[in-house]
Amino acid sequence: MRSKYEIFKIGIKDVAPHLLSVFPFGIIFGAIGIELGFSPLFTYATSLIIFGGASQIVFLQLLSGGASSLIAIASVGVINSRHFLYGAVLSEYLQKLSLIKKLFISYFIVDQGFAVSNQYFKKNPTGEFNHYHLIGSGIILWFIWQVSTIMGIYLGSIVPEELGLKFAIPLTFIAIIVNELRKLDHVFVMIISGLAATFFYNAPFKTYIIISPLIGLFTAMIINKFKK
């Protein structure tokens, strides 16, 4: 059986390729915060306290655009509500842990970490120390996000805008789901969710980010009814 430390390292290794897009995104975020007129400390604080890439950008953009705090906070809540789904999926694997450990690990649940650790859990459903995979993937993502935010804050736009590195974000997610394209039901559900997100993109408070997954899950439910 693998030791805690080994699983922790596998977690880091599995998520490492995604740092390719997380790192420039962090730099871009740090630079945006300063450009919008926020102090370095304030910009950085969002990375430490909120720790949710896209939601931090929206948060600062809304505040700088003169929106009320309430609207900015609500938007962060909506964008990050997808973590409810991640938590529901992960709960099964983290069930045996003490409350303290659950509360600690929860802070590190982010998109890429959830994706790679969930894949590891599915392949190794019985491992006693499986949660160390999520800690490994989460901590390295957290660390890179903190460092890249600070770099962006102080080095500014060292990443030229013409490179369009924002595009690395959809690419990292394509890399995550591309294996599921081998299953027809998943492909169908993906297309429905994606088109719904595109259609509802301009809905208030970024609600598309939770409406479309729910439409997708509803579609999956219907598909599973017919499969029986």
């Binding site: 990050n80 990292t172 297309i191």
Partner: protein
């Protein structure tokens, strides 16, 4: 004040992360629900990918010849056949850059 709003936004975000992990017990998840939860990555990530590729910074549809569409298709094809994350991201980015900078 805005500092307060960071903390509230942070607590709210943390709540979205810890609530399900701490509240759900195994008994609450039926086999049917577990099957549906299997689809979570397949519903959440396309909801980020599609607008990221198909829409521009202003939320309007891009044209079919947009470099992002070319980059995304390249990444999908390379990713599908190689199953390699780095190759998927790098091929997508470089094909995107080729369209932008060469053509």
């Amino acid at each position: 004040m805005t500092w307060t709003s960071i903390f509230i936004a942070g607590i709210l975000t943390y709540f979205t992360r810890m609530s399900m992990v701490t509240l759900i017990r195994k008994e609450m998840i039926s086999d049917n629900l577990r099957k549906i939860l299997n689809y979570v990555p397949s519903v959440v990530f396309p909801s980020i990918i599609f607008p990221g590729v198909l829409l521009d910074d202003f939320g309007t549809l891009v044209t079919i010849s947009d470099p992002k569409i070319f980059g995304a298709i390249t990444a999908l094809v390379i990713g599908f056949f190689t199953r390699n994350v780095i190759l998927t991201i790098v091929s997508g980015l470089s094909s995107y850059w080729i369209v932008i900078f060469v053509f």
